[in-house]
């Protein structure tokens, strides 16, 4: 992905009036607050952190509103800010009790030459029998970078191209990461199914 130069960014900067800023904020940013909160909550696992994260995102969005081009994809723009805030601020002081070294897991799953030797025998009926809690539990159980692509794609309906921009990764990586994320999720679900006797 080519990096935009400072001059190009400057050239794209808008100069909105106060009235226009309010219109953009209310008309283009605020309709996404529900999705933003859900995304934040699924990243942070904590109501207060999720609330702070969304509030912080909207503050930044308002502060940098002149960088936003009216009529372009506001949702993707906001998600990108939220994701960056999460990585830079909230992830460091994560309240998660689980201290698994996810970096190690991510490095393994992110490597291009990974041998995905696992095959998951997850049946459709198994997933049908499960409740939202169990599916959410499986999603929450996978490393955050993988969880993120599933949320962006399957819950929020972003295209690979939009995800590539939100996450700052090449589009090919979006495709492969999503594939690995879904495999990881299926592994989790298959594990639950076995524990709970769904496959009997």
């Amino acid at each position: 992905m080519s990096e935009e130069t400072e001059q190009e960014q400057q050239a794209r900067r808008q100069d909105y009036s106060e009235k226009e800023k309010t219109e953009i904020f209310d008309g283009e940013f605020m309709p996404h607050v529900d999705s933003m909160y859900n995304f934040a909550f699924r990243l942070a696992f904590d109501e207060d952190d999720a609330k702070d994260l969304v509030q912080d995102t909207y503050l930044k969005a308002f502060r940098f509103i002149n960088s936003f081009e009216r009529g372009t994809n506001a949702k993707a723009w906001l998600f990108r800010i939220l994701k960056n805030s999460f990585i830079n601020e909230y992830r460091k002081k994560s309240k998660q009790p689980n201290k698994v070294d996810y970096n190690e897991v991510e490095q393994y799953y992110n490597s291009d030459d990974v041998d995905e030797s696992f095959t998951t025998d997850l049946r459709v009926e198994t997933v049908q029998h499960m409740i939202g809690d169990e599916i959410s539990g499986a999603l929450n159980g996978i490393p955050v970078d993988f969880r993120t692509v599933i949320i962006l794609s399957d819950l929020e309906g972003f295209t690979y191209e939009e995800m590539s921009k939100i996450l700052d990764i090449p589009i090919g990586t979006v495709r492969s990461r999503l594939h690995r994320a879904r495999n990881m999720m299926k592994e989790k679900l298959a594990g639950y199914a076995k524990e709970m006797g769904y496959n009997k």
């Binding site: 209310d26 909160y37 599916i135 819950l155």
Partner: protein
């Protein structure tokens, strides 16, 4: 979008070559699952989609794999959507207050 499509067109063709069947068995199921994902995510271009549709019409194993992936994806999506976190009622007003609107 066209840039994206051409990137995946090449990938699709290379990957698809490995997904032939022998005696009714799909040779590389893992690779085929990646192709199915691209199609289900609506990221395959028209040519790739046509090749794919031809494949699932003529190969039972491929068709089963596609239908299974499609159902699992839909079911997971449905349940995750039903299980969304409830947004705090005061969040909107807090945001508006914080930006002084």
């Amino acid at each position: 979008m066209s840039e994206t499509m051409s990137e995946f067109s090449v990938w699709f063709k290379d990957t698809f070559k490995k997904c032939y069947c022998e005696q009714g068995n799909l040779i590389d199921e893992k690779q085929f699952a990646e192709i199915v994902q691209l199609v289900l995510d609506n990221e395959a271009d028209e040519e790739s989609r046509t090749i794919f549709e031809q494949k699932i019409r003529t190969c039972v194993k491929s068709n089963m794999s596609y239908e299974k992936e499609k159902s699992i994806k839909l079911e997971i999506k449905k349940k995750l959507c039903e299980h969304k976190a409830e947004m705090p009622t005061n969040l909107v007003s807090t945001i508006r207050k914080s930006v002084d609107l």
